[in-house]
Amino acid sequence: MERILFGDNQFFGVNHMSEEKARAQAMKFRDTAAIMRVLDQAYDAGIKVFMCTTHDRVGEIADIVRANPARYRDFEFYPCMPYAHKYANSVGEVGIIETLRRFAPGGIVETLIKGAISAVTQDTERLMQMLVDAELKRFAGAKTPIVFLQNVVTDLLLGLGMHDVLAMFARHVERKYGAEAGFITMNLPMLVGALERAGIERPIVCANVNKIGFRMCGGIEAYREVIGSGRCRPIAMSVLASGAIPPAEAIEWVCGMKGLQSIVFGASSKANIVQTKELIEQCWGTA
């Protein structure tokens, strides 16, 4: 797994601190070329992984990367699925069953509803596979060595106690795509235990790790313990807590956490990309 990963929140109007900032970014990155310019800057700075939501716009980026194999020889995607708002908005509009119909074509939903009592377990697995395949379609031919489940789904299944479905996801991406599964979460200590019980050893997990403990459920100490335990391969995200902590201070603190494997960060300018990367490398002593 690469140690420094480039994230995508800044491209799609996500900012946990300011709706105004989020809106300004959504305007700045309204066309794919603007996103590609920043991605090129990150790639040229030596960051080879783009960890990104399976947003429709990312499909266009995958097209560009595929079409230029010489330029992007080492470029890898770590897709994170699903782009949840697509589903959430649809569920509000037409309900759960109709949403599944929209995004998992091929009559699977009818089969599910008819066979509801007889074989739900197999059906859930089949449905999950079809939804995953639909999300990964746009990445065909690009390198996707790790495929992540977004936190809203990981944490939903965690809370519902449907831990076997998390294991089904891991099996499917491994068998069909030769990829490892990753799990994004806001509840890292709780999740790692659940994944172990579902039979996933040393899972790849991605969670907020920041000095102020923002969205680190279970608390900083529980995070420090599970990250340092070697029981998982952790990636830190939201290290700046959306700007609540000054970069140098934030990164120094995160890099000091024993057991952390990677850091994912987003930035909108070359200067910020280079500065953040250098800070991480200095703290980790990998420069």
Binding site: E19, V91, E93, I96, D155, L156, G159
Partner: protein, 342 residues
């Protein structure tokens, strides 16, 4: 362990299920929904007991509390049945379509000393709580205007909508399903309005219900209020709610992320200096033990669990406060001519 039941396992029901499921002192013992596929999938994977008839579930499952996330038109009947059986009740917003029914539920819960909460989660967001605290403490002086708005993309094409949310009789439409959050937030911060001077319920894409609500309010002390909500605004990635409060000493503009306070010179208050002070959610939100879609969803359930444990009928977001919200909604509906062709 507290035994919890769920009635209605749609979008909100699933969210409540996961939060309760992760709660250390709660066991989700039974769920009820008319859609057999969802409940049987949950039973297979989690072993939870499932029902199709909520009465049977409430009669048989020995529940301490129940979460009701069914269409609004059914809330009165379902919540009454649960309260009469001694169950603590959490109901999704809005409480009822008729304010009189909300009032009756509030009185029933109070007389039985049962926890009674409604899912207006904005009341558990740190920025909005701080706004209310500042207004109540008089930090911005006398309030003379309150603005509340929400925009998002729920209905963004014609003919969309095959669920109860697109049916007026069942409680669908932007006013009950979406604007209710803003009406409640304005009540939370400024208290309930006395009158609605004018309202427009606009259809944009829906056939049977409105997609936007615009209303002018009047508060008992003379302040004015303006409500603006539109769920057909595709320029917003997700629901974006803002409240602005104007006072004689300053103003506050708050959304989910930021609480921005402007105080006039000489009006300094606690850590808030003259001019702008911006406080972020990272600073204002208390942590939760389990996070799904926002701290507020977990915090409201923590508060409910706490009320159940304490056997308290008087707490944040009670039926009594939701009745005030339903009353304001009914006034807006009346002024906007809901039910008439528009």
């Amino acid at each position: 362990m507290m035994r919890a039941g769920l009635i209605g396992v749609g979008k909100m029901g699933l969210s409540h299920y996961a939060i309760l499921g992760a709660h250390p002192s709660v066991e989700v013992a039974a769920i009820c929904d008319s859609a057999g596929y969802i409940t049987s999938a949950l039973r297979k994977h989690t072993g939870v007991e499932t029902y199709k008839d909520y009465r049977k579930m409430l009669d048989e499952a020995h529940l301490d509390c129940v979460m009701v996330a069914t269409p609004t038109s059914t809330h009165f009947e379902v919540a009454s049945y649960a309260l009469e059986r001694g169950c603590h009740v959490f109901v999704e917003k809005p409480l009822c379509l008729e304010p009189e029914q909300s009032l009756a539920l509030a009185e029933l819960a109070k007389s039985r000393k049962l926890a009674n909460q409604v899912g207006y989660h904005n009341r558990f967001i740190g920025t909005f709580r701080e706004t209310r605290r500042l207004v109540r403490a008089g930090a911005i002086g006398d309030v003379y205007h309150v603005g509340g708005s929400a925009f998002g993309q729920v209905v963004i094409r014609p003919k969309s909508g095959s669920t109860w949310r697109s049916s007026r009789q069942e409680g669908g439409g932007c006013l009950h399903d979406y604007a209710s959050h803003v009406v409640d937030l304005m009540n939370f911060v400024a208290g309930p309005p006395e009158r609605v001077l004018g309202a427009q319920l606009r259809r944009i894409f829906s056939k049977d219900v409105e997609d936007a609500v615009y209303a002018t309010l009047r508060y008992p002390e003379g302040a004015s209020g303006q409500l603006e909500t539109n769920w057909s605004d595709e320029s917003y990635r997700k629901m974006s709610t803002t409240i602005t409060v104007y006072g004689t000493r300053g103003k506050i503009v708050s959304d989910r992320q930021e609480c921005r306070v402007f105080l006039r010179s000489g009006a300094e208050f606690e850590r808030y200096t003259a001019g702008w002070t911006i406080r972020y959610i990272t600073d204002l939100q208390s942590p939760v033990a389990y996070y799904l879609r926002g701290e507020e969803y977990s915090a409201q359930i923590d508060a409910f669990v706490h009320a159940v444990q304490a056997g308290s009928a008087e707490h944040e977001n009670s039926f009594a406060s939701a009745y005030e919200t339903d009353r304001a909604i009914a006034m807006i509906a009346e002024k906007g001519g809901a039910g008439e062709g528009r």
